[in-house]
Subunit: 117 residues, 2 copies
Amino acid sequence: MAYEKKIPVDLDCPLRLTMSLIESKWKSCILDELRSGNPMRPSEIHKCLPGATPRVLDIQLKELVEDGLVEKTIYPELPPRSEYCITDLGKSLLPIIDSMLKWGTDHYEIFEKKYSK
Amino acid sequence: MAYEKKIPVDLDCPLRLTMSLIESKWKSCILDELRSGNPMRPSEIHKCLPGATPRVLDIQLKELVEDGLVEKTIYPELPPRSEYCITDLGKSLLPIIDSMLKWGTDHYEIFEKKYSK
DNA sequence: TCATATACCGAAAATTTTTTCGGTATTCTG
DNA sequence: CAGAATACCGAAAAAATTTTCGGTATATGA
């Protein structure tokens, strides 16, 4: 059986629901990369997020697809090709991603001073 | 030595920075509980978030204090009393928490149908 | 021919987070 | 007096996530 997420989406409270969709290490970054709406291949996404291993991107893309935030198209070619594209539901999360990006930018210095080196 | 967070705040990108401050299981909920600005005792917070164990609240409150999002006051009384209060920096995250709360409320049905039972 | 690239997957290891349990000390309640 | 409540902490166990590694298959380019 394929890899399976242990903790499913959290239906207990709306805040936890939203968090559970994006809280893993790279999901918000993946959505941010896909924000333009242009489809991206896994290898492209990996180039944009070199800190993530291809394996973890694979796993998290799969979950994003499962949750309906991202859509996958497989082209029956060789070598294999597939593309991932943000869905309307995924796009509806972008304002949240945006505000986190802005907050992080605005408050970067505080944490840089506090935690760097 | 006291408990120590393994993964520190992520300074690599602003989005990850913000996420790393709130992505653990209960931090966003704790901030939401403290939103009014009124100080709360740990036992009160636990009553509001019964799904979390006192231990994990303790650990995450400690990290929130360390990151400057929450302030702690200890009263030298017996039995012990302490209070946690959201800081201005923590308050500045509330619009993000709000938008996640709203998103979760607006899209609850989709996931309820998909994942419940 | 050999290495590389492609997408993906399984399995195991490593890491991190969360839970569980027990213990500190004191006060109050039954 | 026994038990609960209070806040917190350490240690170990459990659970979840992420990394690492190797393997599938085929095509292209050196």
